[in-house]
């Protein structure tokens, strides 16, 4: 039994996918072990709700298992999985908005490019203090909260690109957006987060 576990762990994603296609359930469980924490993190960051994120995770992996034959291997398996996860998470968000119209309409931040792009001679350059910034728990919490403050459509693009490493093309396909629209949302999200971090460091 122990050797079997080690064997699956040593396989790469595409070897596991081949086995899942042959209905090897242990290969699927290795994929669940490998990707569920990251998929959970993504679902939680998009939905901002643990129960919703758990549902998203279940739907995602059921879909991965049932639809493995539709994965053509044109992108990384992880990108395919994150795209499925994102779509289920967005569905949750949409359903929640129907259920509760006031939800997430409060505190919508200003994403106006002029407001986000302003910079002055007096602003600190904190770029070489990243390690130091990350050592400060209260600052990490504030950055995490700043990401949550992003409007949904900006937060999703930012997470897929800067955290999960999907290409602009993959994000465009997932969200049904043009490449310029993906870049525009990513840019504004980064500008907003940059401004927030600057604000905390200048306090």
């Amino acid at each position: 039994m122990a050797t079997k576990v080690i064997e699956y762990k040593s396989l790469n994603d595409s070897e596991l996918v081949d086995l899942i296609r042959k209905k090897d359930y242990s290969a699927f469980e290795e994929i669940v072990d490998r990707y569920s924490p990251k998929a959970m993190r993504l679902a939680l960051k998009i939905t901002k709700n643990r129960e919703d994120a758990k549902d998203v995770l279940q739907d995602t992996f059921v879909s991965v298992y049932k639809n493995i034959d539709t994965f053509k291997g044109e992108s990384a398996f992880s990108s395919w999985l994150y795209r499925i996860c994102t779509n289920f998470a967005l569905m949750k968000l949409r359903n929640r908005k129907y259920d509760n119209q006031s939800d997430s309409m409060d505190e919508n931040p200003n994403m106006d490019i002029d407001a986000l792009a302003s910079h002055s001679h007096t602003e600190n350059d904190w770029s070489d203090r990243a390690e130091n910034i990350l050592m400060r728990k209260e600052l990490r919490e504030k950055i995490d909260q700043a990401i949550d403050k992003l409007p949904d459509e900006y937060r999703v693009v930012f997470l897929l690109k800067d955290v999960e490493g999907l290409s602009n093309e993959e994000i465009g396909e997932t969200l049904n957006l043009s490449i310029p629209a993906v870049k525009s949302r990513l840019h504004r999200a980064r500008l907003f987060l940059r401004k927030e971090i600057s604000k905390y460091l200048n306090e």
Binding site: D114, A117, H119, S127, A130, L134, L159
Partner: protein, 76 residues
């Protein structure tokens, strides 16, 4: 090129998507404008810092509960 134009181009600049002439113009601006250099550096650092903040919030426990659910649902 104005500082505002520089900010507009940062995303494309960092992805290597700018045409050569525009890239050169941007880099000439950076050579003369310290606030824009600071902006470029902090913009670039933002992605790295935020990625690390999000990445550390991994829920390693979720796999076991999920596997139980999936076994009931999928395993025959």
């Amino acid at each position: 090129m104005r500082c505002k134009d520089v900010v507009e181009l940062l995303c494309d600049y960092l992805e290597g998507d700018l045409p050569e002439d525009l890239k050169r113009e941007l880099e000439e601006h950076f050579n003369m404008c310290k606030p824009c250099i600071k902006f470029l550096k902090t913009y670039s650092a933002t992605s790295k810092i935020c990625r690390q903040v999000v990445e550390e919030n991994l829920d390693e426990e979720c796999a076991e509960e999920l596997k139980k659910f999936l076994r009931n649902k999928l395993s025959t």
